[in-house]
Amino acid sequence: MNTIAILELILLATDLYFKNASMEGMTEEEAAARIHTALEEKMKRKAKDLPDV
């Protein structure tokens, strides 16, 4: 298991835990604002723009 793979595992695990936990009790307005922001950020991150290694 290499370092990147370990970091990956921890990142995904913590993502699952904190993101799910932080969504509990969210109002509709909060959800709408958060989806808007996250979608805007996503539009700036196209997979094809990632440099090849």
Binding site: E8, L9, A38, A47
Partner: protein
């Protein structure tokens, strides 16, 4: 020995974090499409940033420099990546990550746009995205 112990410790921490959390499958099943969209978008964005951060770290550049060079100076960035500290294994992991992100790029966007508009989302699309994210997770477990 020391490396094995630290690896084991990190894996245990990851499992504890997941184990201490609420029932993930149930949370997911009961989540509204908007909540699912937020989760998928944020995971995608985090993974995309993580890819850039690893290149930045291994080349001695900043993440902003990597993003700028990827758009404006691709040859210079390629040279920096060729001379970086990335191992063959790390490169293979990054290629795998880029492949997964490429496959879910449009589906995540479409899913989020439908959820944002309050329109019905596609169960097949959701399943596909989750399957791809699980593949990414499984690679982390097995590599």
């Amino acid at each position: 020995m020391r490396k094995t112990l630290s690896t084991l410790l990190m894996v245990i921490v990851a499992f504890v974090l997941v184990g201490c959390g609420p029932n993930q499958a149930l949370l997911w099943k009961n989540a509204a499409p908007q909540e699912k969209a937020i989760f998928l978008l944020e995971v995608y964005n985090t993974q995309w940033d993580n890819y850039i951060d690893i290149i930045a770290y291994s080349t001695g550049l900043t993440a902003e420099q990597v993003k700028y060079m990827a758009k404006n100076e691709p040859e210079k960035l390629k040279e920096a990546i060729d001379n970086s500290s990335l191992t063959d294994e790390a490169r293979a992991t990054l290629r795998y990550k880029k492949d997964i992100l490429s496959k879910i790029d449009m589906p995540v966007e479409e899913f989020a746009k439908l959820a944002k508009a309050g329109l019905p989302t596609s169960a097949e699309q959701e399943e596909f995205i989750i399957e791809m994210l699980n593949k990414l997770k499984m690679r982390a477990y097995t590599k």
